[in-house]
Each structure stands twice: as C-alpha cells, then as structure tokens.
C-alpha cells in the first residue's frame, strides 16, 4: 500500500509535468543544422555559422591568406576567452602564415593538402577532421579552434582550450590535519588529471559523455576496470544517459537525477571534493562521476558507512582512527536524538534523572514560560537560522553574526528567563555534533525534529519507535543494487565499519560493491622485519 501511495504521488507529479509540457515543443531545425555539410565555399560557410551563432561579440571569425604567395584563403573560428591566445598565435596562426611552400590545389588533391596542413604545419597534438557545421559549432563552443579553408569540404578542429580557471587549492569542506590537501576544481580536465595522477593503472577508465540539451556539460564516468562491478558501471551509465534535462549546473544535479530513492531523507549517492577520497572509493569498486564545472565528484554506490569515514581515518594509526569513528557514530546519534531524550526525560520520565541533576534542571526551568518542547523547537530553529545566515553572509560579517547569535541571544535568553540553560546546552551539543558527520547533516536536521515530536508525544517509547523506523527505512534502502547499510549489519567486511582495523588486515575489498578483483593485498600478515626477505610460506 506504501507503494500505491508512492505510485500515486509519482503519477500525480507526472501528470502535472505532462500538463505543463502540453503544448508540444516547437520543433526547431537544429537537427537539420546538425547534418548540414560544409560546402567548401568559405564565405557561404562563414555566413551560415554567423547565422547560427548570432551576433555574439565573443565569437571571432578571422579570415586570412596563407601558403605560396598568399594564394590560399582560410579562416579561423573561435570563441574569445575560451581559447588560449598563446596556442592560437604560436601554434596555429604563426605556422600557417609563415609557411610559404603550400601551393594551391585541385579538388582531387584536396585531402593531400589538408593532410599536409595537418601533419607538417599546425603545431598541435590534438587535431580532428569534421564534416558538418553542427559538429563544428559544437567544438568551437567548447573552446577549440576551427580551421576552414576555401575549397575544403572539411574543417580541422584544433584543440586550443585555455580559459581562466581556479588553481588547485585546499578544499573548504573536507579539511584534514594529516593527508593530501589538494582538492578538485571546476575544470573538468584538471579533475580527470588529478585522478589519473593517483591511479597509474592501465585499467583506469574515464568514459566520456555529455548531458544537458542546452549546457551540453561534459560528464565523465571514472572506474577501474576489473575492480568495479560491470553491472554497476552499466547501471550508472544507463541512468546518466536517461537524464533528460537542459542543464547540469553542478554534480548535485546529477546526484539527484540518478539516485535510487529520491524521496528518502538519506543520500544514496556520495560525493567528495578530494581526489584521494575519490580514488580510494574507486579502489573499493565504486564508480566516480566527474562533471564539468563542479569541484564535487560524485560516487556510487554509496553505503551509509561512507558518511562516517574520513580520509584521515586511513592516514593515522588504527586505534585513534577507530576511536574517532566510534565518536562519529555517537555524534550522529546525539545530534538526532539528544533534544528528544531531553524532552522525554523531563516531561515523561523524571524519575530516571538523578535527583541532584533533576533539581538543577527544575531550578533552571523555573520561571520559563514555555513548555519544554516549544523551547527546544525555538532553539533548534534559531540555530538553523543562525547557521544559514552565517554561511550566506560575507565572511567578516558572518563571524560577527555568529557572535551576536551565540553570545547575545543564548546568554540573554537564559538570563531573561525565556529558556532554561540545560536546554541551551542540549541544543548546543546537538548543533556541534551535527558537524562531525557532515554527509548526513541534512538528514540529521530533519530527523531531529521528527524525533523531538515523537518524544514529546510518546516519550521514550516514541524515541524507540523512531529509531526502529529509521532502521527499517535504512534496511530498505539500496544504492545501485547494494544494500545501504551492508557493512554495518555484520554481513561482511567488518574490518572497516564500526572500527578500522590495521591496513594490512583489510585484504578484501568490500564484497557487496566490488567486481572481479576482490583482493587488495595477497597476505594478511603484519609488516615485520623478518618477512622482508622471505616469502610468507617460509615465515608463517
């Protein structure tokens, strides 16, 4: 019956969207343009391109003469700002104009001349031939230079991408004390290079596709052949292909289009801003999706466990890493349920609070006008608002607001007797704990309110029911065919779940995700000076 409701919902949405799209889209002649061939008449071709691209000021069409006695007519089409001026002048213009040996040609020897231009004159490693105006415009818009010449029914596309971009910096979201500090940038090629640089295996695959009718965003599916499960790779590709939208602004768009459970509170597709995290996930068999213009790389499938892992867990020694991980689980539980427990204890189960503490709480709450639940909701709301304001405001101002919010509002509210100090402390702990598990902070903020309501209605029983409900929901989630909480329910690969075992102990990749290549290292032996020169058989 839940499915029925779900279906009804989706069907409802579907019908809405259908109604919106009711007037059929005017069929533009883009398809025709795609197939128009280059005529060979330079003026006509340029006129056609000009008609297609309109009067944009950044589109440059440079006509020039070259070859023996400047008898040949040529033109370069490029987008100013997208191409590198250095490449344009040094590798394209200069060689073409300086060359004096290229004689005029007959139509029959057109290909020969073109090959000569391509092979002996132009100084570029990436030159392709294109036949239609559509392809030509497309590559021009993605930053390549198009070379047309009178009499050629083909165009040469010379790679000359060179726009201004942000350099590689330390990511803002996932800072570490120990570990690599470089992060992805908005530039697609830089991001693929960052991954390629870390995995020098011949099996690394970066399959390209483009999504979005208008934006035509470059998207790359990165995985390690053999390590990744081919079924998952195919599913990812199929889902990417089925995305039907006109724009991809960020990898967040892609995440929302391909996730398994769009109505769930929990994310079923992961992301990271750090190449070391992404490559580590790829080495566990996951598939990474790099999209142009976004410093966040998406990974799938996602397990719940991933939210509680940080890259640093693996760079420091296992004891402290395990301790930190347990703290993260605790922090998640606290951030979801601390206000709920406080409400349940103070309103339903006062006898469970130690007497001295109970007296403190009572004296603190003496004179506060609102019921505890309302108090908690007001505080949670004001915290969320403060956080949002702090993020959006200009940085220097943001700090000022935080100080005003934290000190003035918190302190003043307590002294004025509007809220009790224990409640402020509870909400403060909740708020701080949320940031220990940043991946789940969206889910946690909403779950916290649900738990709060449950606790104020049903007390501890409500909290227990809430936990069970969350557990049921988590058990029902799947990400690309992999159960969401696989490693947390003692199915397999427990060496890296609640605690992190030593690295040499983790000889198997996660069983639920991985494809053929299941083992990381052949032997499970700890590093020791003895095993340096002898095989494991001799030295058990």
């Amino acid at each position: 019956m839940f499915k029925y409701i779900n279906k009804k919902l989706r069907y409802g949405f579907f019908r809405l969207t259908e109604q919106n799209n009711h007037p059929p889209k005017p069929e533009d002649d883009s398809k025709k343009t795609q197939e128009t061939l280059i005529s060979g008449n330079l003026t006509a071709d340029l006129e056609y391109i000009r008609k297609l691209l309109g009067t944009s000021s950044d589109i440059k069409m440079h006509e020039f003469r070259y070859g023996e006695d400047f008898q040949l007519k040529g033109a370069l089409v490029f987008v100013d700002g997208l191409v590198s001026n250095e490449i344009l002048t040094e590798s394209i213009m200069k060689p073409l104009i300086m060359n004096r040996n290229l004689s005029p040609f007959q139509t029959s020897s057109m290909q020969k001349t073109l090959d000569t231009v391509r092979q002996t004159i132009l100084c570029s490693g990436d030159i392709t031939e294109k036949y239609t105006i559509g392809e030509l415009v497309e590559s021009c818009l993605s930053g390549d230079t198009v070379f047309l010449s009178e009499g050629f029914d083909k165009a040469l596309i010379i790679s000359s991408k060179g726009w201004e971009k942000r350099s590689i910096t330390e990511p803002q979201t996932e800072s570490v004390v120990r570990g690599p500090r470089e992060g992805f940038t908005e530039n697609f090629r830089t991001n693929t290079a960052l991954i390629r640089r870390r995995i020098k295996s011949a099996n690394l695959r970066l399959d390209h596709m483009s999504i979005g009718e208008k934006t035509d965003t470059n998207v790359c599916v990165a995985y390690i052949d053999g390590v990744a499960d081919p079924n998952i790779v195919d599913t990812v590709k199929a889902r990417l292909k089925s995305i039907n939208t006109d724009a991809i602004m960020d990898s967040g768009y892609i995440e929302q289009y391909i996730e398994d459970h769009p109505f769930s509170l929990f994310p079923t597709v992961g992301y990271s801003e750090k190449p070391d995290v992404i490559t580590a996930r790829m080495l566990e068999g996951r598939v990474a999706i790099i999209s142009d213009g976004s410093p966040f790389v998406t990974t799938a499938p996602m397990l719940l466990l991933e939210s509680f892992q940080t890259s640093e867990d693996y760079y420091i020694r296992p004891y402290f890493a395990s301790l930190l991980r347990i703290f993260r689980y605790l922090a998640f539980i606290i951030t979801v349920s601390a206000p709920a427990f406080f409400i349940a204890l103070t309103t339903y189960h006062q006898e469970l609070i130690p007497t001295t503490l109970l007296l403190t709480i009572i004296s603190a709450r003496e004179g506060t006008p609102f019921p505890a639940t309302l108090e908690a909701i007001i505080l949670i709301l004001s915290f969320e608002i403060l956080r949002e304001a702090g993020v959006r405001l200009p940085r220097p101002l943001g700090q000022a607001i935080s100080i005003v919010g934290a000190l003035v509002m918190g302190e003043a509210a307590v002294t004025a007797g509007l809220v009790g100090a224990p409640m402020v402390i509870t909400i403060a702990i909740t708020a701080v704990a949320e940031f220990a598990v940043p991946d789940q902070s969206e889910a946690a903020s909403i779950l916290r309110i649900i738990f709060l309501v449950l606790a104020s209605v049903l007390g501890a029983y409500g909290i227990a029911l809430g936990f069970l409900g969350v557990l049921i929901h988590l058990a029902s989630l799947k990400s690309f065919g992999v159960p969401y909480c696989t490693n947390l329910t003692f199915n397999h690969n427990m060496q890296d779940s609640y605690i992190r075992m030593p690295l040499w102990f983790m000889s198997k990749r996660p069983k639920a995700i991985v494809g053929q290549d299941k083992t990381r290292n052949k032997t499970n032996t700890p590093p020791s000076p003895l095993s340096k020169n002898s095989s494991p058989e001799e030295n058990p």
Binding site: F2, Y348, P354, L458, A460, Y461, L471, I472, S476, P483
Partner: protein, 374 residues
C-alpha cells in the same frame, strides 16, 4: 508461486533465532513462581527437552529443503488435508503474533507510559511492524545481529555493575522442590520460547545455506539464544533472590535496583528500550510469517494488500484475547503447556511420520519442482 524473492544469509538466520529466544526473556514470570530459585535449572532442562523437538524441525526442513511449512503440509497431506492442517498453523502463528503484541502493549503501559491507553501504543507499534513487513524478509531479519549485540552488551554491563549486589545464597537450596513443579516449569519453558521456533520452518527455504550447515546454524542459534536467556535468569535470580517470584517483570525490577555510583540509577529505561526493540523484532518476524503463511494458504501472489487488514485484526485480537494479565499468566501456566504441543510437537511429528510412510519427498517430484523454478 514465489512470494519471497530475497534470500537471507545463514548468519542472519542464526541471529534471528537468537533474537527470537532472547526476546522471550520478558516472559520469565510465567515459570519463575513455579520453581523459584531453580528457574535457571529449568531453562537447562528445557533446552535438553527441546533437542528432540528441534530434531523434528530440522528433519522436516532437510526433507523438504525448498518448501516452507504450508507447502510441506500440502505435499504431505494432499490438497485438502494440507489446507486443514495449515489452517491450524495459521491460527497458531496469528495467535502468537497477537500474544506478543499484547505483551508489548502491557509492558510499555506498565513500564513507561502508565497513563496512555494501550491501544494507542499497540496501533503505533503494529504500523511500524507493517512498514518493516512490507519490505520483506531481508529487512525483517537484517538487524537481528545488531539487536543481539546491543542486548548482550547491556546484559554484560548490567552483570558488571551489579556484582556487588549479587548473592550466592539466592541459588540455594538446589533441587528441593516437588518433581511436579520442575516438570511444569520445563514444559512451559520448552513450549514458550523454544518450541515456538517451529515458525522458522516457514523461512528456512529462503536461507541460502548448504544443507549440511542447516543443523549448525539452527542449533547454534538455539543454543546461543538459550544461553542468553539463562544468563538473564541467572542475573535476575542472583540479584532478586527469593523475591523473584513476586514480580511480573523480573528483569525490569533487577535493573531498577542496580545503582551505579550514587547518582546513576534506574537503568530500567535501558531495559525498556531494549525490550521494545527485541519485541519489535519478534512481532515483526511473527507478523511476517503469519502473512507469508496466509498468502501460501490462499495461494495468492503477494501479501502486501493484506498487511493493514491483518494488522487491524491483530490489534483487535490482542485486546479481546484476555480480560486481564492475571488471566493471561494463568493461560500461559496452565493451558499453553497442553495446547501448544499440538502445534509445536504433535503436528510436525505427524507430518514427519506421514512423510516417512508415504516415502516423501519423492525424488522426481522434487526434481520437477526444481525444473519449474529454473
């Protein structure tokens, strides 16, 4: 017909059995007043007596590895006979679910929510169970391991912090009660948690293990679950001593007594939450099994449309079942020992005998079934 498509791992199955037995620790008041300080002995007797019963179950599921209890009945007793026998089981599963639901309602009402009407507690609870059942066996059994670990951790913790108030004398004198009461106690303990394992015959076909390992996991779950139950009773007995028999929820009282330092007491909230979790597991499993049995009995493709109607029936049934908890305890002490054996021992045993006489399972029939499934 193949309603349950997912397969669970043997380990999940084993922990489901453990969790099932462990969640019966609430019901210890059914036999503690009968045998007093020898309650723990009775559990050991019960485990020994249960072994042949388990042997019946294991032989049945070994003989028909691909069929659940309802299908076995159809195979062994024929179409009409099978339906009649299965109807008994259906009633039994349904009653068990309602009984546990009632236990939960009463427990929560008594322990934490004394002013809330039990019907509200039960309705909210059964809706949650319905949600889990909707997703099928995998979700129902997934958290068995986690629940067992949490409950064992709490058990261990309570042992550690209560060593100072445990009394060795609580166990004395040993074996000085009339033989009759030992037999009665053993009977109850055999029937209530251990014999109820008959419900697992419904889900054995959906566990993907090699046949040889069935015994290992079934017995492993049974023994470990039994040991946990024994540990709970030992703790309660050591702390409460002779007063054990006066409490309807001994574990609850035990945790109420335990005090850690001067300020931290009242650990019973831990027990309450733990028990809600464990009972959730048990009720969900039983609810699922009832629905599975129902859908096989009616030969329908899916039980999903029946979840809410059956849930509503369960709520009603659990309320009209008894007029008071005294009546329920009396039922557990005096009627169950003679009534439950019909379902837990007699019927499975008859099934086994008839299967033996009719020389079932016929090899070719099993093969046919396999072919159909492929």
């Amino acid at each position: 017909m193949n309603i349950e498509k997912s397969r669970i791992s043997p380990l999940q199955f084993m922990f489901a059995i453990m969790c099932f037995i462990r969640s019966s620790s609430l019901l210890s008041s059914f036999f503690t007043p009968i045998v007093n300080q020898d309650s723990w002995l009775v559990i050991i007797f019960g485990m020994i007596v249960s072994l042949p019963v388990l042997w019946i179950y294991i032989s049945l599921s070994k003989a028909f590895p691909k069929s659940n209890l309802i299908e076995i009945n159809d195979l062994v007793f024929g179409r009409i006979g099978g339906k009649i026998i299965s109807a008994f089981y259906l009633w039994f599963f349904f009653t068990l679910t309602a009984l546990n639901l009632r236990d939960l309602g009463i427990f929560v009402g008594k322990s934490t929510m004394s002013k809330t009407p039990p019907v509200l507690i039960i309705i909210v609870f059964i809706l949650l169970c319905a949600w889990a059942v909707y997703y099928g066996l995998e979700v129902v059994t997934r958290y068995g391991i986690v629940f067992i670990l949490i409950s064992s951790a709490i058990l261990l913790l309570s042992f550690l912090v209560s060593i100072n108030i445990m009394h060795r004398e609580s166990f004395l004198p040993i074996l000085n009660q009339p033989l009759k009461s030992y037999i009665q106690g053993t009977n109850i303990i055999t029937m209530i948690p251990f014999g109820e394992l008959v419900v697992f015959l419904m889900i054995v076909p959906y566990v993907d293990f090699k046949q040889k390992k069935l015994v290992r996991y079934f017995m492993g779950g049974f023994l470990l679950g039994g040991l946990l139950l024994l540990a709970v009773i030992l703790r309660d007995l050591a702390i409460l001593g002779n007063t054990l028999k006066y409490f309807s929820l001994p574990s609850f009282e035990t945790l109420r007594i335990i005090r850690l330092f001067d300020s931290l007491g009242h650990m019973e909230i831990l027990f309450a939450i733990l028990l809600i979790i464990l009972l959730f597991f048990k009720v969900t499993l039983l609810f699922y099994i009832s629905l599975l049995a129902l859908s096989y009995w009616l030969k329908i493709e899916t039980f999903r449309p029946f979840i809410l109607p059956v849930a509503a029936l369960l709520v009603a049934y659990s309320f009209i079942m008894f007029e008071s908890s005294m009546q329920q305890t009396a039922f557990a002490r005096e009627i169950i020992p003679f009534f439950w054996p019909i379902f837990e021992m007699l019927l499975p045993f008859i099934t086994l005998i008839v299967a033996y006489i009719r020389e079932l399972p016929k090899k070719n029939r099993e093969k046919e079934k396999e072919d159909v499934k492929v």
